[in-house]
Symmetry: C2
Subunit: 336 residues, 2 copies
Amino acid sequence: MMARTTIDDVAAAAGVSIKTVSRVLNDEPGVRTETRGRVREAIASLSYRPSLPARSLAGKRSNLIGLVYDNPSANYVFDVQSGAMARCRDAHLRLFIQSCNDLGGETVEEVLAMIDQTHVDGLVVTPPLSSDAALISALEERRLPFVRLAPDDTSRGGPCVIMDDEAAAHDMTEHLLDLGHRRIGFVAGHPEHPSSRLRRQGYQAALDAAGVGENQPIEQGFNDTASGYEAGRRLLSASKRPTAIFASNDDMAAGVVQAAHELGIDVPRQLSVAGFDDSQIAAIVWPALTTIRQPAYEMAFAAAGLLIDLVRDRPAPAVTELAYTLVQRGSTAEAP
Amino acid sequence: MMARTTIDDVAAAAGVSIKTVSRVLNDEPGVRTETRGRVREAIASLSYRPSLPARSLAGKRSNLIGLVYDNPSANYVFDVQSGAMARCRDAHLRLFIQSCNDLGGETVEEVLAMIDQTHVDGLVVTPPLSSDAALISALEERRLPFVRLAPDDTSRGGPCVIMDDEAAAHDMTEHLLDLGHRRIGFVAGHPEHPSSRLRRQGYQAALDAAGVGENQPIEQGFNDTASGYEAGRRLLSASKRPTAIFASNDDMAAGVVQAAHELGIDVPRQLSVAGFDDSQIAAIVWPALTTIRQPAYEMAFAAAGLLIDLVRDRPAPAVTELAYTLVQRGSTAEAP
DNA sequence: TTGTAGGCGTTATCAA
DNA sequence: TTGATAACGCCTACAA
C-alpha cells in the first residue's frame, strides 16, 4: 500500500515549493510561464491528483457541489444527474449526489447534514425540492449558494433554470384543437409539483381562447402510471367520452393508453393521447406519445454552470429559460 | 457567515477533551457511559456534524464509499443507486456516485482519479464495469476494497453479488414451452454484458431439454428499444414466424411489442412476448410484460453492505446470490 | 477512563 | 515571482 502522491512530491520533482504548485493547481497568477510548465509536467508525469478533502479543509472551497432530489422518476433523475455531472466534469469539479426519496419529514435535516459533512460549495436543487419553502429558507440562512430547477417562485432564492410549462401546455392543447378535437380531457399532475399547476393553466387558457373552456373533464393524477390509468378509466367511462386526453406527464399518458387498450378504444383513431416530458418511455409505449420535450439534461447542465459561476463569485442571471419542443408521434391524430 | 461547529465546541460544551468526543463519534470503547451521554447531548444540542474531509485527512477511513456505473439504462441505474444509498444511510456512510457514461477509453483513468481525489474507502462496481478486466486489475493493484454486481467471473476480484441469469432464462423459456409454444424466437442482449451470454445459454438449454433446440430463430440486439424493434421486425417477417419471442431485457421486449403492433399481430393472442429485468417500463407498456424480476435494488443494497464489511475489516462472503422471480403479466398466453 | 501532541495534504498569510 | 509557516478539523499514538 504505497503512500499517495502529494503536492510535496510534485514540488520536489519540479524543483519548486509547494506553494508554487498550489498556484499552478488553482490557476493563480504570479507564476512564470516556464515555471508553470515545469510544474504541469511534473503533475502529469506523476499523475498527481490533489486531495479533495485536504483542499476543502485548508481552503475556502471544496471543489465539490451537491445535487439533491426527491423524485421517484428514474428517467428524470437520470437525465438531471447526467446533465449536472457533464457540466461538473467540464469545470473539473466533483458532484455529490444526494437522494431525499423516502425521507419523510427529515428532508431538510438530511440536506443540511450533507452540506455540513461534505463541505459542498453549493447546491443544485431539483423539483419538487426547489419549491420547498423550508429548505430554501434553510439554505438562505446558511448563505450557501444554490440554483433551483423549475421552482414555483422565481422571484426569490437566487438563480433559477426554468421552462415555460404553461406555454408548452398551451401549445399542446392548441395542437389537439387544431386536429379538430373539442372535447379534451385532462389528467392533472401531482398537486405538490408546481409545474402541475402551470400545465393545467396552459391547458385551460388554450381551451378558453378557443371558446370551449367550459365543462371539460379533468381528473386528478399523481404523476405515476397507475394514477394515469385510473384517471383514464374514469374519463373514458363517462357518458360524453373525450376524443382526446392530455396528461400532465408521460407516465400518466402511458396509463391512459393502457386504459384505452383495455377498453378496446383505438389510439389514435378513436382517441388521441398527449403526454409531457418526453421521457424515455414516451418512445417506448405504442403508439409512441406525442409529448413536450422538457430539456431536463440541458436544464441541469445549465443549473450546474450557474452554480459554478456563483461559487466562483461570478455573476449569474436570475432566470434562465430553456426552450421546449412539441414532439409529434403516433398517439395523436385528427378527431374522429 | 458564522464558523462551523467543530469538535472543539462539542468538547467545551460537554466539559471533556476533543479526544473523548472523537471516541464517542467513532463508537470506541473506553468512555464512561455517563460521559458518553453528556457528549451525545452536546452533539445533539449543537447539531454538530463531523467534517468528512477532516476525518478522511486525519484518519485511515474517509467514511465515503463510491459507486461507479457505465450504463445508459435510467431504470437500472436509479434502482442501483437507491439500493446502495439506502444501505449507506443505515451505516452512516456517504455514497459518492460516479457516472462513466460517454467516457470512451478514459473510464479506468477517470475512476482512478475519482478514487484519489475523493479518498473513497471502497467501490461498488456495477455491470458492465464489473466485468472490465482493466478496471478490476487497476483496483486490485491499488488494494482498494470493492464489491462487484453481476460480474462474468466470480472466481477472482473479491466479493460479488449475483443473480442466476441462466436459471432465470431457463425458467422463462420453460414457461413459454408450458404454454405450448414450440417456435420461440430470441433477441440476444448486448454482447459486452456478461449476463447476455448467460441468458442465452439458459434459453438454449431449456429448448434442448424439450427437444426443440434446433434452428430456433435468434437475432442480435443491443439492450435498447430500437434494436429490439429491429430484431422483432426481422423475426416476425420470417417465413416461419415464431409464436413467442423472448427478449434478453425489457427494453428490447418493448421494441418487439412495437413491431408486433405495427405488423398488426395481436399480443398475446398471436404472439407471446417475454422480457427480462422487470424494469419500470415492463408494467407501463401494453400489454404489460411477463418478465424476470431482477432485484437490482436489493443487489446494490447487499453489495454496499458487503463493501462496508470489507472496509471495516470484517469478513464478507465471496458470492452472494439473490433470488429472481418470474412475473407473469399480460404479454404471454397459450400458443395459438 | 481521559487527555496531550503531532500530523494528514492542502490553501492562506505574509515575508523575501 | 517565489517561498516559509501557520492554519483547517479531525484521528492516531502515546501518556497520564
